[in-house]
């Protein structure tokens, strides 16, 4: 089981591990995201495969020391392929009582707790809701508890730097990181370099952080306590050669949009309204203007989708991005794009709902909204990315399909993929297939809803083109002229044509593949989106244990791949784990009348491998 190759005992010699799960947890102000990020880079440079899971509160500056102000960053790294951020935690670094309280339940029995005892004063204990100091009352005896006054040791290490006490204390995250580097035998150089770069405007702060990093490392090397902690190595994973980049889903979507736009030979106008957890795409693209990208922070979600539609009408690729509640506001606009048959890419970084829900927590509960969420019969193309790196390719496909079929395409990502990162073997962009768009220019016999005989797409005729002036709009249009029409038979014909066009997109898709296992058998686990990692590892583990189970993972949610019905019917049972209350299952049951069963989880956290394994075993052993 992933992450269970745990730290079993302390030994002064370095013990070799196949993988380990480390979680840094502290107050929002403790810099846990920066710490996790630096550890991730050092780990990538050490040659491990890895997956990360940043978990931070919605509050920007929650009151210090409270449980709801706890920010955490988890990383699973190994000498083998890593598919999730880890079911349970091997090493928890807790910078205050609240961080310990919130995260302890995820640490497995016997796991290592590295605790800043200096932060366990009466005030912090009270804020975290502890009546008694858990470090002193024996309640942690099921774990290997290491109490270190990191706060004081950081102050001691930085006493000659001239930093104020407050500034020096803010370096204690780097002290902790230094110690963890020693525990896992990680090189500090890249971290030191990046700290100096990041804080180049405040060199004294950078120097303090590097000094704290080194002090933490030296503590591991020299203190007698080292024997209790143990030291480990996680050898490099056997991963393919190439240039790697640690990429988040947010970055991969942004880069995929740039790539798709360039491959189409278009201009991109990206229109968005800030919303968690989608805003990062806007931020990333706003810094890529040299690629010709125009970003527009609209006054609201509706303006964002409408500006994107206007941009597409004028010949650019209009893109809008949001999360569930924002997508709901864009719904009428998406209907307009479907009716006027304009290309539009809608990125939905899903989050826990309904309504505002839990903005920083992940969920995949917008499948209904994506597939069905518009007035009237209004099909659009829906794609789902499975991992941070997979966002890149899926996004390019979204741009390609939107422009080829003159249709909105909704790309489903989620808060987990958006913020999580994984090493990505960078593809050679020179090898990407181009799909150049040539706007319509033929005036003979032109009307705006003349359909391509193969794709049923209408011509993309844009303002500025002589001889093609025309009017489009949300009112129903005549099939043969494009003029406004209330003719009953015409509405039937146009509704059928819109449906046939979207159904026809499935011809672009490769046949649905089976990720793991046979194309028939007792049980297939069918997933979509970010559940890929836990499902794939669970099915892999169970197959190694001799169980006949298959993993099928969908990117194409609507239309569905043409062979999917036959494929599903070749299994006796179908299990569909989803981070929602059962949405893909409804779609597959209604499309194929298959007796699929669901596994639902809406806790704001990804599935663990163990949860999927247990559900599979229950089906196979029933």
């Amino acid at each position: 089981m992933e992450g269970s190759a745990a730290l079993k005992g302390g030994s002064p010699q370095r013990k070799q591990l196949e993988s380990a799960v480390v979680r840094f947890a502290g107050d929002s102000g403790d810099g846990m995201q920066l710490t996790g990020d630096r550890f991730t880079l050092a780990t990538a440079l050490a040659g491990n495969d890895l997956a990360t899971f940043p978990d931070f509160p919605a509050e920007i500056r929650a009151p210090a020391g409270t449980t709801y102000g706890v920010s955490a960053y988890q990383i699973n790294f190994g000498a083998r392929e890593i598919k999730t951020s880890g079911d349970t935690v091997d090493v928890l670094i807790a910078m205050n009582p609240a961080a310990l309280k919130v995260n302890l339940e995820d640490v497995h029995a016997g796991g290592l707790l590295l605790v800043d005892s200096g932060a366990f004063g009466e005030k912090n204990l009270r804020k975290a809701g502890y009546d008694h100091n858990p470090l002193e009352n024996g309640s942690l005896k099921g774990f290997r508890l290491i109490k270190i006054d990191m706060s004081q040791l950081t102050l001691d290490a930085l006493k000659d730097t001239g930093l104020s006490k407050k500034d020096a204390l803010r370096c204690k995250n780097m002290w902790a990181l230094g110690l963890v580097y020693w525990i896992f035998d990680r090189d500090r150089q890249a971290t030191a370099d990046s700290l100096r770069q990041k804080f180049k405007a405040k060199p004294e702060v950078a120097a303090g952080m590097v000094a704290a990093l080194n002090a933490g490392h030296a503590f591991g090397e020299t203190a007698e306590i080292s024997a209790d902690i143990g030291a480990f190595t996680v050898p490099p994973a056997a991963i393919g050669s190439g240039v790697y980049h640690n990429v988040t889903g947010t970055e991969a979507v942004a880069w995929g949009l740039v790539a798709g736009t360039m491959l189409a030979g278009l201009k991109m106008v990206f229109c968005s309204y800030p919303i968690t957890p989608a805003s990062g795409i806007l931020h990333t693209l706003a810094r890529l203007k040299e690629y010709g990208i125009v970003t527009f922070q609209a006054e609201d979600e509706i303006a964002a989708v409408c500006a994107a539609i206007g941009a597409s009408y004028a010949g650019a690729i209009g893109v809008t991005s949001s999360s569930g509640p924002g997508i709901a506001l864009k719904t009428e606009g998406i209907g307009l794009a479907a009716a006027t048959e304009l290309p539009l890419v809608v990125v939905n970084t899903q989050r826990a709902g309904p309504s505002t829900g839990m903005p920083t927590k992940t969920e995949q509960s917008d499948l209904y909204q994506a597939v069905f969420g518009r007035n009237a019969d209004c099909p659009v193309v829906v794609l789902a990315a499975r991992s941070p790196a997979d966002c890149f390719e899926t996004t390019i496909e979204a741009v390609r399909l939107a422009t080829r079929y003159m249709t909105p395409v909704m790309l489903l990502s989620d808060g987990y993929i958006a913020n999580a990162s994984e090493p990505w073997a960078l593809p050679d962009a020179d090898g990407f297939a181009r799909f150049p768009v040539i706007h319509h220019h033929e005036t003979t016999g032109f009307h705006p809803f003349q359909r391509d005989s193969e794709t049923l797409a209408r011509p993309w005729a844009i303002p500025g083109t002589p001889g093609l002036t025309h009017r489009i709009g949300g009112l129903e249009r005549d099939y043969d002229t494009g003029n406004v029409s209330y003719d009953p038979a015409n509405h039937q014909r146009m509704t059928d044509a819109r449906a046939a066009k979207i159904a026809g997109v499935a011809r672009e898709f490769p046949p649905q593949a089976v990720e793991l296992g046979n194309d028939h058998g007792p049980l297939a686990v069918v997933g979509w989106g970010s559940t890929y990692g836990p499902i794939n590892r669970a099915v892999g583990n169970l197959r190694e244990a001799g169980l006949d189970v298959a993993h099928i993972h969908l990117r194409h949610i609507w239309p569905l791949p043409t062979n999917l019905g036959d494929l599903l019917k070749s299994y006796e049972k179908i299990l569909i784990p989803e981070m929602n209350n059962g949405q893909l299952i409804t779609l597959l049951r209604s499309e194929y009348l298959v007796p699929a069963e669901g596994l639902h989880k809406v806790t704001g956290k990804p599935f663990t491998i163990a949860e999927v394994e247990a559900a599979v075993r229950a089906r196979l052993e029933a």
């Binding site: 990538a44 980049h245 740039v258 790539a259 206007g310 004028a314 650019a316 606009g333 709009g473």
Partner: protein, 353 residues
């Protein structure tokens, strides 16, 4: 794609589409359509680079009746659609046709923002103080007491003034016209077109079915001269059948009042001269209403600033000039990368966050 059209003087009728116009007989929209066609001919508009965008409502059918490019979109959203069009192609000549409900109720937010951003469009706001297409409900510009199907006892809401709203939103061009005034309206529309930035023209438009005669108290021939003032930059603010009346600052206040030249010692020197770059004056003019004051018509305010889409394009151009030709591989390799397969793992790029 902007190929110059053959040089020929187009006539207003050349801007009409082949679609049958379907407004109610006698609707003020016919007169506005006529004035817009006249304006397009006067300014020599090229149909292939001209785009009319609308939302929902009676006025929103406008694009179907012109031979230019046209986009009839959804309720209230025309300014957002138009902003996207201008961001994609700043060279297009974009006109928005909207109504009081479309622009000031469901689309009020978008109106605010297109004006403050100063996107280079002409925004024609047909104000008939009523909802026509949905059969006669009161609108955000309806006067208090307006009886309608949804306010049978009379509306208890205070109305919004389109011109005052626009000035408050930071518009750089605000004008007002009357549907039937073919003598004035094309000139005002041409001024709006010449202004590089968001130009709001409130057009007082008679709804013959649901709100007939709502502006008659100052548009009827018998009272027009006394209750309208056509303002012109640099000219004294005078009105009346023989220009005998004028506006001056009421002494000791920040307000204007009507004076009669030749009476009480008033001379032309006492009358304000219209300065269309003066926002305070524009605000005073926009607020004037009968019976105490005349309705101000013409260009109330015009003080250009760089347009939004040109500034955005300049940022993109500057970024392009500063960097090498766009290269996807370079993009993917930004920041920290490392090479697997090399004898030792090293960061490939300097640390950049």
């Amino acid at each position: 794609m902007n190929i110059a059209a053959p040089i020929e003087k187009r006539q207003p009728k050349n801007y009409a589409s082949d679609q049958e116009v379907r407004w109610c007989p006698g609707c003020g929209d016919y007169a506005i359509l006529k004035a817009v066609e006249r304006t397009l001919a006067d300014i020599g508009a090229r149909p292939e680079t001209t785009v009319f965008v609308s939302g929902i409502g009676c006025a929103a059918r406008f694009p179907y009746y012109l031979s230019t490019y046209g986009f009839h979109s959804i309720h209230g959203r025309a300014p957002a659609i138009a902003t996207g069009i201008k961001l994609a192609n700043p060279d297009l000549d974009v006109w928005i046709v909207s109504g009081d409900g479309d622009a000031l109720s469901i689309g009020g937010n978008h109106l605010l923002h297109i004006l403050r951003r100063n996107v280079d469009v002409q925004l024609l706001l047909f104000n008939n103080e009523i909802y026509g297409l949905t059969k006669g409900q009161y609108s955000p510009t309806s006067r208090a007491g307006t009886r309608s199907p949804s306010t049978p006892e009379g509306s208890v809401e205070a109305p919004v003034s389109a011109a005052v709203f626009a000035l408050g939103a930071g518009a750089r061009f605000v004008a007002r016209g009357v549907d039937t005034q073919q003598k004035y309206l094309p000139g005002v529309l041409a001024r709006a077109h010449a202004h590089k930035g968001a130009s709001l023209v409130e057009i007082l438009q008679n709804c013959i079915v649901y709100n007939d005669g709502i502006f008659a108290h100052f548009t009827d021939r018998e009272v027009a001269a006394e209750r309208q003032i056509h303002v012109e930059h640099g000219k004294p603010l005078r009105f009346g059948a023989n220009g005998e009346k004028g506006l001056r600052v009421r002494p000791g206040t920040l307000d204007v009042e009507v004076v009669e030249i030749g009476k009480g010692g008033m001379t032309e020197a006492d009358v304000l001269v219209h300065d269309e770059t003066n926002r305070t004056m524009a605000g005073l003019l926009a607020r004037m209403a009968p019976p105490a004051m005349p309705v101000a018509l013409g260009v109330l305010y015009c003080d250009p600033m760089p347009s939004y889409e040109r500034q955005v394009a300049a940022l993109v151009d500057a970024a392009k000039a500063k960097h090498k030709a766009p290269d996807l591989n370079a993009l993917l390799r930004r920041g920290h990368t490392w090479t697997v397969g090399a004898p030792r793992r090293e960061p490939d790029a300097p640390a950049e966050d």
